[in-house]
């Protein structure tokens, strides 16, 4: 009897592993930048090409960086969530307009509303590359010391805001 139970046991264990695998999101690649300082950048804002922003300008406060583009369909999906967040939270939401064109991005914001305190304009995606951006939209939580504490890949959902972003932002003393 025991010898027939073995294959069954192995099958059940494998089923467990496969089931766990189904719960995982293969697109969720852990970022090596978590708990590392924000990569250095110096970018013009979307609204004013002459105004340059660097990470030091944002030091001393918890902030969110949201990578978006007008060509990104999933960004439209998460946009209402960001609009809500901007209304209800005091944490500055900084946009990173990734590989976009200025006029298209501005039109897009005009059409869908602008939740961003500032949007940085990353025309050739070099700053995005330093952040390890591989799928837009992406959202980062950055603490008062300028350290990346969380990376969220894909459109932000109301559940993600409630269960991940807000608790972390509160914990960081936003």
């Amino acid at each position: 009897m025991k010898r027939y139970l073995w294959p069954l046991a192995i099958f059940v264990v494998m089923l467990g592993f496969l089931g766990m695998g189904l719960q995982l999101n293969p697109r969720d690649v852990p970022s090596p930048l978590i708990n590392k300082p924000v990569p250095a950048f110096r970018l013009p804002t979307l609204a004013a090409p002459d105004t340059l922003v660097a990470p030091d300008d944002l030091r001393g406060q918890v902030w969110l960086l949201n990578v978006w583009a007008s060509w990104c369909v999933a960004c439209q999906q998460e946009h209402p969530v960001l609009m809500d967040l901007a209304k209800t939270s005091a944490v500055p939401l900084i946009g990173l307009n990734y590989k976009d064109q200025r006029h298209l991005a501005l039109t897009w914001l005009g059409k869908h509303g602008n939740p961003y305190k500032t949007t940085l304009f990353d025309r050739d995606g070099r700053v995005g590359l330093d952040f390890g951006v591989y799928g837009v939209p992406e959202t980062y939580v950055i603490d008062k010391q300028g350290v990346i504490r969380l990376k969220f890949t894909g459109p932000v959902t109301p559940e993600a805001v409630r269960d991940k972003l807000l608790p972390l932002m509160n914990e960081l003393g936003a």
């Binding site: 690649v29 090596p32 590359l129 390890g132 591989y134």
Partner: protein
């Protein structure tokens, strides 16, 4: 069938870098720079990197925008005189060890590297135990003519009742 399997396994073991570098030449992107030597070096490094958008393709084979950007990045860094090692480090710092088709051996990747050999060992042990156990259960030898005769006699003695 068995021979075909053997050849496949051998080919996989001896092949260039196992999983990586399997992209057929025609699926590679057209070179952007005119320097074929530089392009060859770019592709060689790009073949070591996984594209994060289409995760089963190398940066060399992928047509995703991200892969194009990263090839451009490799090209620029090579022109600046950086080595393959520098560039792979640069990528891993941003995208993690996951982008490397040959991840470094460290604590978090031990299972990845040793796993197949551990499985092989376990399978070998199970196989050995099975073979040992199976011996006593082996098919009994065919009856000799004398034994057959005796069996027949016993059956006859039973008087034909089942």
């Amino acid at each position: 069938m068995r021979v075909v399997l053997m050849i496949l396994v051998l080919g996989w073991l001896l092949g260039p870098g196992g999983v990586a570098a399997q992209a057929p030449a025609e699926s590679k992107a057209a070179p952007l720079s005119a320097d074929p030597v530089l392009e060859a070096r770019v592709l060689k490094i790009a073949e070591e990197l996984r594209c994060l958008v289409c995760q089963n393709e190398t940066i060399a084979a992928s047509q995703a925008d991200l892969a194009k950007d990263l090839r451009q990045q490799i090209r620029e860094q090579l022109t600046q005189g950086r080595t393959q090692e520098d560039i792979l480090d640069f990528m891993a710092q941003r995208y993690g060890d996951f982008v490397l088709y040959r991840p470094p051996l460290k604590f978090s990747t031990v299972l990845l590297w040793a796993g197949p050999f551990v499985l092989l060992l376990v399978a070998a042990v199970v196989l050995l135990m099975n073979i040992r156990r199976r011996d006593p259960l082996a098919e009994p030898a065919p009856l000799s003519p004398a034994e057959l005769q005796r069996a027949q006699r016993l059956l006859d003695d039973a008087g034909g009742t089942p």
